[in-house]
Amino acid sequence: MTIVDAIQANLLSPAVLFFVLGIIASLTKSDLKFPESLYVGMTIYLLVAIGFKGGVAIADAGLAKVWLPALAAIVLGALIPLWTYPVLRFGGKLPGVDAAAIAAHYGSVSAVTFIAATNYLQAINVPYEKYATAFLAVMESPAILIGVILGTLATKSGAGKPKANLRTAMHEALFGRSIFLLVGALLVGAFSGEEGMKKVEPFFVAPFQGVLALFLLEMGLVAGRRVGDLRKVGLFLLAFGVLVPLVNGVLGVVFGKFVGLELGGATLLGVLAASASYIAAPAAIRISLPDANPTLYLTSSLAITFPFNITLGIPVYLEVARFFFR
């Protein structure tokens, strides 16, 4: 499979096509709109479904297999803001607090990007470690905390700025609804195991693809509404939103190979490293670093990096992984 075939296979999947449809609906000012409760309901469904499946896989594989790659995922999540912060601060000449906020978003992860990647691997028959959901769970918070610390330091050096609230950020990063649901469902899955899986399978497995497609239609609408903000963020962030995921994707794949993951698992760690958060991180950052400009971090993560990863990034990270696993 060449890289063009790989990208084509991804672009023609229902989920990605629905995402594009959502963007078109938004750009053409269609009155298509999802009720908020449906959006929240689908988020809960997707997180619980992947959490549960991941938990069952952890019970099956045993913690001995999972802890090292999970630790690598945590380290990776913490490292990304540390290297992207100086790039944003000095390369992009952004204020410290904005650089810290964006760095936190890129170190943290997007669950939907991860789900789309697992979907893609399944569709083209690339096996992957099913317990990889655990990496998603542990990578969400470390970067947010590092980002808030960087932002607090940057804010303190400026005179008369309000103090960033690390405690609120920690609460949001550890108990926010997405991380809470994901970790909770992982534990439920791990305790109930294969037997439990049989009971919930008709609900959590068979309809999953359909819900994901519907959710990506909504994400297309949400991302499409931010397209107008692209002009506000400037060329630097446009380039940052595409190039940094590529670098992080390679880093993730290399980390994955180093800790003994297979091709599929390493690809997923690459996808996680490349993805940027747009639910957990904005909530934590908006409250704890209110001085940071939300247009910058939301637009770059939601309108640049998310669409890039969903359409082109995922197959590219797989090809990167193939290169390292040759």
């Binding site: 709109k33 999802f34 009720p35 908020e36 959006y39 929240v40 309000p162 609120t168 909504e218 609408l221 949400v222 509404r225 107008g228 903000d229 747009y278 639910i279 904005p282 909530a283 908006r286 409250i287 209110p290 001085d291 939301l298």
Partner: protein, 95 residues
Amino acid sequence: MKQVTIICEAYALESIKDLLREVGAHGWTHFTVEGAGAGGERTGETREFANIQVQVILQPAAAETLMTRLHAELFPLFGMIAYESEVRVIRSAKF
């Protein structure tokens, strides 16, 4: 009695609730709203990017404190507007 209405981004809710408790509000109502303003169009479709409206009924002195503190403490941090109006309250003992 005064009714203070605050329309702001959803992320400001916790800070507003803290402030309401501090100025002695006994209760309040908040809900997701849609509209457009300086921050562009807000559709209320996703909780994260929605606007909310907070309404609270207060004694005039408490309303004054609330408006002053909103202006000083929260306006610099969040997208937000606030206005107050005179209202006739039937069960005024509750406030």
